[in-house]
């Protein structure tokens, strides 16, 4: 990148808030996905004004920009696919206001998800979206990707928990949409912007809803000899309209890896477990627990354990939330998939995932949000062996295609990003893309903001207005070096 641009960035944000050396930038070419793309500069703004200045600088020099939170995303959404400037929000991490009376928090995008919950839990409140990475991911990232988590089953993804945003548009204008009030009176712009994956505007402030902690929580661990029994249980729970707050499935192989890693107390000799959480007032929780127990036993649960106290409950969740880390110890790299299927088709979908995994010869683990049909097969591979990587990508794509073919969706919570841009054609028609492009063009007409995401590029860059940095490397592919 031209040294002039770097100097201007330093003048805006301060020299210590700009990275431009190759050895620094290499840390920002990754996120949690298997994609890679290196920015030419990383800048850490402190204020919305800084962001506006950076955007105007990017316009002046015709350089792409991309926003980034903690870089924990799993679809390449926060990677600099077009090179250019990465705006890392890590230092815009202040909780600006806690409004307990109205159950709202006003936060900067770099606030870590769990830090918000920690800041309000003394008042019996919490921020509901709870991705596995909640101790490191940022709320700005959650807003961009419309993140979920285990408790999405009951409480919805991020868009159900955001009522207002401050935005910096790709032309440098600052806009506020929504606010603390519950309803928009015009179009639901927050509904559009949350989950737009940083392709329409940069988010510089968020008004988040705070939820009331339930009176009672019960966490059950149902242990099954086979994956089939576990998935049939989930299907039956849904069919009986039993609605736990979370319903997670972990297969036997994954459980062993977790036990080796965090000793969460999972069995090492079963086919699968369901980690089920029920919340509400005491009487409702007791009733639901009984109904769930009945369904689990009907489907041959070997044992149903109830977490005795908060400590045991937290340990079980720690096991669940560190599962990807645990599997990371078993192979140099892994590919976490995110796809959704109708819940009634869970048993057949899992059988298909297992079959495809066996056929490809790579180890595939399954840890996922069973209650809402959100699968996360995890494929282990060694990136030093290109054929393994290609096979991992191929089998992953095949699984996603299968999920869509049975009425599912490409992504339940990770976003499309770079990872699934080309697969968007599985779900959307030319007419759908035409409308998406018109909306994109209204907000991001020059395509400088987060190029190469969401839209398939196979049809020619002109159509999606993907641009590369004039001074930088061309668009990078997802193949690791």
């Amino acid at each position: 990148m031209q040294s002039g641009i770097i100097a201007e960035l330093e003048a805006i944000a301060g020299a210590r808030n700009v990275l431009s050396r190759a050895e620094d930038l290499v840390l920002y070419e990754y996120d949690g996905s298997v994609e890679k793309a290196r920015p030419e500069a990383v800048v850490f703004p402190s204020t919305t004004t800084d962001v506006v200045k950076i955007v105007k600088l990017a316009i002046k020099h015709d350089v792409p920009i991309v926003g980034r939170g903690a870089g924990t995303g799993l679809s390449g959404g926060a990677l600099a696919r077009g090179g250019g400037i990465m705006i890392a929000f890590g230092r815009m991490n202040k909780i600006l206001e806690l409004d307990f009376a109205n159950r709202r928090a006003v936060v900067q995008p770099g606030v870590v998800n769990f830090d918000l919950t920690r800041a309000v839990e003394h008042a019996g409140l919490y921020f509901a979206p709870d991705p596995s990475s909640q101790k490191s991911c940022t709320i700005g990232g959650n807003v961009s990707e419309n993140s979920g988590g285990p408790h999405t089953l009951a409480y919805g993804v991020t868009s159900s928990h955001v009522t207002g945003l401050e935005l910096v548009l790709p032309n440098g204008e600052v806009k506020r949409i929504g606010g603390k009030l519950a309803d928009p009176m015009g179009y639901d712009l927050c509904g559009l912007l949350v989950g737009s994956e940083g392709t329409l505007a940069l988010v510089t402030e968020i008004v988040a809803k705070l939820s009331k902690k339930p009176e009672a929580i019960k966490t059950l661990l149902a242990i099954f000899e086979t994956v089939d029994d576990a998935t049939e249980t989930v299907t039956e729970l849904t069919a009986r309209a039993i609605t736990p707050a979370a319903c997670e499935m972990l297969d036997g192989w994954t459980l062993c890896a977790i036990e080796d890693y965090v000793h969460a107390g999972f069995p090492r000799d079963c086919g699968a477990v369901l980690l089920i959480e029920i919340e509400g007032i005491t009487e409702a929780v007791a009733g639901q627990a009984q109904a769930i127990d009945e369904v689990c036993r009907l489907h041959h649960a070997r044992e149903i354990r109830t977490a005795k106290d908060d400590k045991e409950r937290e340990l079980l969740w720690k096991g669940r939330k560190t599962a990807f880390g645990a599997l990371g110890r078993l192979a140099p790299s892994n590919y976490v998939l995110d796809a959704v299927i109708p819940r009634s088709k869970l048993p057949q979908a899992l059988r298909q995932v297992v079959k495809l995994g066996k056929e490809c010869g790579l180890q595939v683990g399954n840890i996922f949000h069973a209650g809402d049909g959100n699968l996360h097969p995890l494929v282990l591979f060694d990136p030093r062996k290109p054929e393994e990587f290609r096979e991992a990508v191929r089998v992953s794509e095949e699984i996603v295609r299968y999920c869509v073919s049975i009425g599912g969706a490409l992504t339940g919570e990770h976003g499309v990003g770079m990872e699934k841009a080309e697969l968007m054609t599985l779900m959307f028609s030319e007419a759908d893309f035409a409308l998406m492009r018109r909306v994109h063009a209204q907000f991001n007409p020059t395509g400088l903001l987060n190029p190469g995401k969401v839209f398939p590029m196979g049809k020619g860059c002109g159509e999606t207005r993907v641009r590369t940095s004039p001074m930088a490397h061309p668009l990078q592919t997802g193949v690791p070096a």
Binding site: L181, G407, R438
Partner: protein, 460 residues
């Protein structure tokens, strides 16, 4: 004339001659605020609806999509209006798998029919909106009125999971899908809610459905003033209870809404006309409901309730219906009624209530108020028949509301208003939207300006 004949032939070619009407008498049924279309067109499929929109784009016609036409009075009068696109033939359930708790419904399906189909599988959609017995699903989403069940189940943003629609180029587009968790692509379906048909013609909607609880009951408590009623509402909010309905009716509103219904007679009889009524709904097992009834009774007493009644399932169903239809009941309470909707912060609800009620008092009009879920206020101004100063008072009221800006955080729009006043009163004045951003959305969806011209905020 010749040009219109050829357009007629084109429209008839799309939907069949029996489904295009031009007789003025028939078209009157589709009039909006006195503006009558030139054609009524009734497509049988989404494809045909798209074809009609393409014809309209070509002819530079203005199209208003209609369902049961119950909510057409909401919004500003159309700037022009050529085609009434009657969507009622595109009806029925497209797919329903009760085991998935999801349903895909064609836009012209009546809400009441949908509710019956769902009830057979012991499920429901928490879209209990006004005109429920007649309204179509597509119309209900386009109109964007809320449901008393929002207290627990939220708004369509929380349970509308996908949509198919015809955009302003006449193309059939979609967003979302039919699974409960899905973040693929832009969430266009969220924009359709409350868009008054200005972004597209909704042809199909996908929802997540919910199980009907084994019991659903209610609790009414009356208070000498709004202070007590608000205290009770706050107590509930601070407790562990999560009711499904939480509404507060002013004395005028309680009289209007509840006095006609026998089961509430005892409560209303005991009421002098100055009492506020808090309505609470809850659901769950018998045990859960017992706990609610007990705690609510205790909290009501603490807050100084004059009277309290626990309601069984049937009574609560009747109460829910009354609350659901409240904006319509308010509208029908006077020939020239004006119904407004405000959104407020829970912490400022009391201040906003006090302010708008005091403005209404100085206008001499009866002004029933219903506060919903601590965040929405429905208020009506009911002029006496033949009161020639009514508009002046309305205008004064609406200007006074403007004086609250900067003091309170709120938004307000006019929901129902006699057509003759709409040109003189800007019902969107206090909607407080980021208009420039809204226009970007409108331009993308409807680049030719074919849909519901001038019906929405900012003349969109």
């Amino acid at each position: 004339m010749a040009a219109e004949v050829s357009v007629l032939a084109k429209l008839e070619g799309s939907v069949g001659s029996a489904n295009v009407r031009t007789e003025p008498k028939e078209l009157l049924r589709f009039a909006i605020d006195g503006v009558t279309p030139k054609f009524e067109v009734r497509p049988e499929t989404a494809e045909k609806a798209a074809e009609v929109v393409r014809t309209a784009v070509h002819e530079k016609f203005a199209v208003v999509a209609c369902g049961a036409r119950t909510a057409l009075a909401i919004g500003t009068p159309p700037a022009s209006y050529d085609v009434a696109l009657d969507m009622t033939r595109i009806t029925g359930i497209s797919s329903y798998d009760p085991g998935d708790l999801t349903i895909s419904v064609n836009a012209g399906m009546p809400l009441a029919d949908l509710a019956r189909e769902l009830a057979e599988k012991k499920q429901f959609l928490p879209l209990e909106v006004p005109f429920f017995e007649k309204a179509t699903v597509g119309g209900a989403i386009a109109a964007g009125l809320d449901s008393p069940l929002r207290q627990f189940y939220g708004t369509p943003r929380d349970f509308l999971i996908g949509a198919e629609f015809v955009d302003g180029t006449g193309a059939q587009a979609k967003s979302g899908g039919r699974v409960v968790k899905n973040v693929t692509g832009y969430d266009f379906h969220k924009l359709l809610n409350g868009s008054l048909g200005t972004l597209g013609v909704i042809t199909r909607l996908n929802f997540r459905t919910y199980p009907i609880a084994s019991a659903r009951r209610g609790f009414l408590a009356s208070f000498a003033d709004e202070v007590g009623a608000l205290k009770f509402v706050k107590h509930i909010g601070a407790s562990a209870l999560t009711p499904i309905v939480l509404e507060m009716a002013s004395p005028e509103s309680a009289g209007l809404l509840f006095s006609q219904y026998a089961p509430f007679a005892s409560l209303c009889a005991a009421q002098d006309k100055r009492e506020w009524t808090v309505c609470v709904g809850f659901e769950g097992s018998g045990e859960v409901c017992e706990r609610y009834a007990k705690e609510l009774a205790r909290m009501a007493k603490q807050a100084g309730a004059q009277n309290a009644v626990a309601m069984h399932d049937d009574q609560f169903a009747a109460l829910l219906e009354i609350l659901r239809e409240a904006p319509v009941t308010m509208r029908d309470a006077a020939a020239e009624a004006v119904v407004m909707r405000f959104t407020a912060l829970p912490s400022q609800l009391a201040d906003l209530l006090r302010a708008v009620r005091s403005f209404a008092r100085s206008s001499w009009m009866t002004a029933p108020v219903l506060a919903r879920s601590e965040c929405v206020i429905y208020m009506a101004l009911l002029p006496r028949a033949g009161d020639e100063t009514a508009f002046k008072q309305l205008d004064y009221f609406w200007k006074s509301v403007g004086s609250l800006r900067g003091k309170l955080e709120f938004k307000g729009t006019v929901v129902f208003c006699p057509a003759k006043w709409k040109a003189m009163l800007d019902g969107w004045e206090h909607a407080n939207v980021e208009l420039e951003m809204e226009r970007r959305v409108k331009r993308a969806f409807d680049p030719n300006g074919v849909f519901a011209r001038g019906r929405f905020v900012g003349g969109m």
